[in-house]
Structure formats: C-alpha cells, structure tokens
Symmetry: C2
Subunit: 105 residues, 2 copies
C-alpha cells in the first residue's frame, strides 16, 4: 500500500494515544483498556514503533528525566500526520459502511 505518508495500524494507535504525554507502558494499557482487550500491543512492538516514530520526528521525548518512565508527545508534524490519517481512515470507513448497508438489501 503506497500513500502520501500513511500510518500503519500500530503507529496510528500509538500516535492516537500521544496527544497527551504518556510513556510506552501506559500506552499499552490504554489501548487495551479502551478497546476492551480487542487490540493489544506488546512491549516488542511498542518500543520498536516508538523508536521509529522518534526517527520520523512525529513524536519526541517529552520528559526523560526518569529513565524508568520516559514520556513522549506528538510533535506538530506528528499531529498533522495523525490528522491527515484520521481523514483517510474515516473516508475508507464511510465507504465500507456504505457497502455493507447496500449488501444487506
């Protein structure tokens, strides 16, 4: 799938959680809670993706004073990328729903 700059699902979920400063472990729990366990991101994925997001400058280390609780936050650029992604995702969801409705008739 090629896009202007589309996020993978995991990236999306993590970035969606980083509109507020949070650390990796908190994000994992947040996602699990909010989706009632339907979506789980384990530590391997979590920290791998955080690294990637840092490299892209979509998130930054908000508070690293305590190495056991490093919080991250979206950069301006990251916020924009997330916003654009939300739009695209909404579009595809609308289309899927339209199709599903039709299919029921």
């Amino acid at each position: 799938m090629k896009t202007t700059e589309q996020l993978t699902d995991s990236m999306f979920y993590i970035m969606a959680a980083l509109t507020k400063p949070r650390h990796g472990y908190a994000i994992m729990n947040l996602i699990e809670e909010r989706t009632k366990g339907a979506i789980t991101i384990g530590p391997a994925s979590m920290y791998t993706i955080i690294k990637k997001l840092l490299k892209q400058d979509w998130i930054y280390l908000y508070d690293g004073s305590d190495p056991r609780r490093k919080t991250y936050l979206l950069t301006q650029k990251g916020k924009e990328v997330l916003e654009a992604d939300v739009k695209l995702r909404k579009l595809m969801i609308d289309l899927a729903e339209m199709g599903l409705k039709e299919a029921e008739e």
Copy 2:
C-alpha cells in the same frame, strides 16, 4: 498488534471494496479513485492479499467463468469480520479525534 481477528489496513481496504462483486484490477482502481490517489495498492499486494482472504474464507470466487476477470465477494463470515473491524476502527478514530481536540486547547 494482537486482536480477536483484526484486519491489516490493506485487507480492510480490499474487503471494504468487496461488498459488491469486483475483480482485483477494479478494486485497485476503486481504492485509488475514492481516495484521490492517497492510497494505492499495486498488483503484487492485491493478488497476494486476495489469496489470503480466500484462504480465510472471508471472500469467495463469485464468478470465475472468465479467467481474465475473476470477481470476488465477501462471505457472510467476511462481512461479519469487516463489520467488527469497522467498529474497532471507529473507536480508535474517535479517541484520536478527542485527543487532537484536547491538544489544541
């Protein structure tokens, strides 16, 4: 990312197009058109994923009489999987939007 049975983005896009009988090439074009080129799925991804969806019984060969135009359609199971996925995706989008709104204040 572990989920009950979460679709990857590409799977989602393709399945969303298969609420009506369509063949691979048509799906590629449809996705490109509908997203104004923002999302592109090339032939390699397309036919690889179709195979996978067939194996999962989420789609089936709707009309294979013309080998140059094989149309596929969601199975009942596939429809259910897609519906569940739409719900999850909507949930995460809502959360992302909520966060983004907060972040602007």
